[in-house]
């Protein structure tokens, strides 16, 4: 995806969101100018977003200057990190804190260049233990109870 296409896609996405906001606001009572209802402000915000998105769309078509960063340049590492963070969120309510934390730590350490599987596992275990001690024991944070049983 080149920068111009990305700019166009972003403008269209915001236009859709703005139009969606207008559509949903119209379903809310708007009242009168003297007694405005809950739909008035979101309607104005939706209109602002739609109008600004259209301006962005025009600029994306006309503008020739490249973006500062390539959109998908070296995106593999951030993508792996996003998957690891999402996996943490999916697993946390199912298996509790320790396993997702270990998994997240191992992946993050690898993404940021730590070498050696056993070293990664050891560091991940230490960080997880420290997090349990700090958050669960000292600060009393209650992590979700696991719903999966082994």
């Amino acid at each position: 995806m080149n920068s111009r296409t990305a700019g166009l896609a972003a403008a269209v996405l915001f236009l859709v969101i703005g139009s969606g906001q207008i559509y949903m606001s119209l379903a809310l009572p708007r009242g009168t100018l003297a007694e405005p209802g809950p739909g008035v402000f979101p309607l104005l915000v939706g209109a602002l977003m739609s109008a600004s998105s259209i301006a962005c769309l025009v600029l994306a078509i006309v503008e020739r200057t490249p973006l500062e960063f390539g959109l998908l340049k070296d995106a593999a590492r951030p993508a792996v990190l996003v998957v690891a963070l999402a996996a943490f969120l999916v697993l946390l309510p199912r298996v509790g804190f320790i396993l997702p934390s270990l998994l997240l730590q191992v992946v993050t350490l690898q993404v940021f260049g730590m070498r050696g599987v056993w070293r990664r596992l050891a560091v991940a275990a230490v960080i997880t233990a420290a997090a349990v001690l700090l958050f669960e024991t000292l600060l009393g944070v209650q992590f979700p109870a696991p719903t999966w049983s082994f």
Partner: protein
């Protein structure tokens, strides 16, 4: 209570041992956050919000404020020693600070940066103490139309002060305002845009969004850049002292930078960064040796470093006197005040004097602590830079997730954190500025409430809103700011033609 009594009362609050400890922890964390890449002051403030529940409102604000201005000190250390600005407001310091370090003069650069920040902090405290009460008195005359206009002015100025084009900035403003409309409408209590999530009827919290956009997004950017651990230049204590000539060349820029930074801080937007660039340009213009700028001129460190700290202190004024946040860090402080049940606005000084004056005086105490921390202990902070990047990143990732979850034990919050982090990472690539969204989200509820109240007040005769002098003045100022670049182009075009 006059300013002097207020400051003295504030010191009695700031010197309570719990508040003194809160201040120390705040500035210490702020310095570490400023030195290390990754989480940033706003993310760190969000992360430590749950830890403030055990503190008094004054203690909570003292600690969180300490993180903010402490990060300004820490940011300059990496800028001078590594040419890596810990904070965006330290970018300018890399120009001459790093050059000085390369010529074996890292010590004087660090010393002047610390002294400049301290002087600016002092100017900021005095400014806060004297301007704050005056502004509060003026703000007491404000009705809903004035607050509505003030929010609009803030958003308009902010749209012009960032790197984004105006249309992109407005998209971000609208996105932030749109997020703020989720949940109960302020006047009727009608539930909106909750999509069946009960928790969303309370609105979208600022903290997960801010943590995502400043913490997770930065983590993703770091993963892409593959930052490597760098060995910083060693600085010994005896090498810190500047020469007599250094002092003579540094004082005027420090004085100018402190005052200019403080005034910039009163304006919405990333003013700390803008103040540093303006100070650098001014010092270069005024210098007898402009050719030395960029090659290790001490004025190029002294002025901008004073300016960024002055702006950080000035940014507290709109929050403490009007209850309106003009910067993401102020938005986090507003969240903390609301969590602690403190009514923000011009009456805060009357109803919660310990919070207002305690915070003002604690800044002076905090700046003194920072001076002590950042000069003799500079080696300790510099050694943090030897930590491997993978260790910093993995701890930051876990802190973002668990810290956000811990605020209200909500899984929805950490999903919001992840989604906003990924969104901000992509938005930055497309030259949309997520900081605008965060600020619009914080201002949204104030803007909507004051807008609706204004319409009720004038019974729908909306032109009456613009006939009020303060409202009209603010709206006209905002429009002038928006139109200024086009007007300037037109003016230059006709002058050239």
């Amino acid at each position: 209570m006059n300013a002097l009594d207020g400051i003295l009362f504030g010191f009695s609050v700031a010197f309570e041992w719990r508040n003194l400890l809160a201040c120390f922890i705040g500035v210490l964390i702020g310095t570490v956050v400023g030195v290390l890449p990754g989480i940033g002051p706003v993310g760190a403030m969000a992360l430590l919000l749950p830890a403030t529940y055990a503190l008094t409102p004054a203690g909570a604000l003292i600690m969180l404020a300490g993180i903010y201005y402490g990060s300004m000190y820490g940011g300059s250390t990496t800028a001078i020693l590594l040419k890596v600005p810990g904070e965006v407001s330290s970018v300018v310091t890399t120009l001459d600070g790093y050059e000085m370090a390369q010529r074996g003069r890292a010590g004087p650069a660090l010393f002047v940066a610390a002294i400049g920040s301290f002087v600016a902090g002092t100017v900021g405290v005095v400014g806060l103490a004297f301007i704050g009460p005056l502004l509060s008195k003026v703000a007491l005359t404000f009705g809903p139309p004035e607050y509505c206009a003030l929010c609009l002015l803030g958003l308009m100025v902010l749209s012009r002060l960032t790197d984004s084009s105006l249309s992109r900035a407005f998209v971000m403003v609208a996105a932030g305002l749109a997020l703020s409309t989720v949940g109960m409408e302020p006047m009727s209590g009608t539930s909106r845009f909750t999509f069946g999530f009960l928790k969303m009827s309370q609105g979208i919290d600022l903290v997960p969004i801010a943590m995502g956009m400043f913490g997770v997004a930065e983590l993703l950017a770091m993963a892409e850049r593959e930052l490597k651990t760098q060995a910083p230049i060693r600085v010994r204590l005896r090498e810190l002292l500047p020469t007599k000539e250094d002092w003579q060349r540094s004082w005027p820029p420090i004085t100018r930078g402190s005052i200019m930074g403080f005034l910039f801080g009163l304006v919405p937007g990333p003013t700390a960064m803008i103040a540093t660039f303006t100070s650098y340009a001014l010092e270069r213009k005024l210098s007898r040796h402009p050719e030395q700028f960029g090659k290790g001129a001490i004025e190029g460190v002294a002025g901008p470093e004073a300016a960024n700290n002055g702006a950080a202190q000035g940014a507290f004024i709109p929050l403490l006197t009007l209850g309106i946040p003009f910067a993401p860090a102020s938005a986090m402080l507003l969240t903390a005040l609301l969590i602690h049940g403190v009514q923000t606005g011009p009456l805060m000084m009357v109803n919660n004097p310990e919070v207002f004056w305690g915070v003002v005086s604690s800044m002076y105490v905090g700046n003194f602590m920072l001076l002590v921390l950042n000069l003799p202990l500079i080696g300790v902070f510099v050694s943090l830079l030897r930590l491997p990047m993978y260790l910093i990143a993995s701890v930051v990732a876990l802190l973002c997730l668990v810290g956000t979850y811990a605020i209200s034990n909500s899984m929805l919050d950490i999903w919001v954190l992840l989604i906003s982090g990924v969104a901000a990472y992509l938005l930055r690539k497309l030259r949309f500025e997520p900081a605008i969204l965060v600020l619009a989200l914080a201002l949204g509820p104030i803007l909507e409430r004051s807008f609706l109240q204004s319409l009720y007040l004038v019974q729908g005769e909306w032109m009456e809103i613009f006939q009020r002098p303060i409202t009209a003045g603010m709206i006209i100022t905002g429009l002038v700011v928006l139109a200024a670049p086009a007007l300037l182009r037109q003016f230059r075009g006709s002058a050239a033609g």
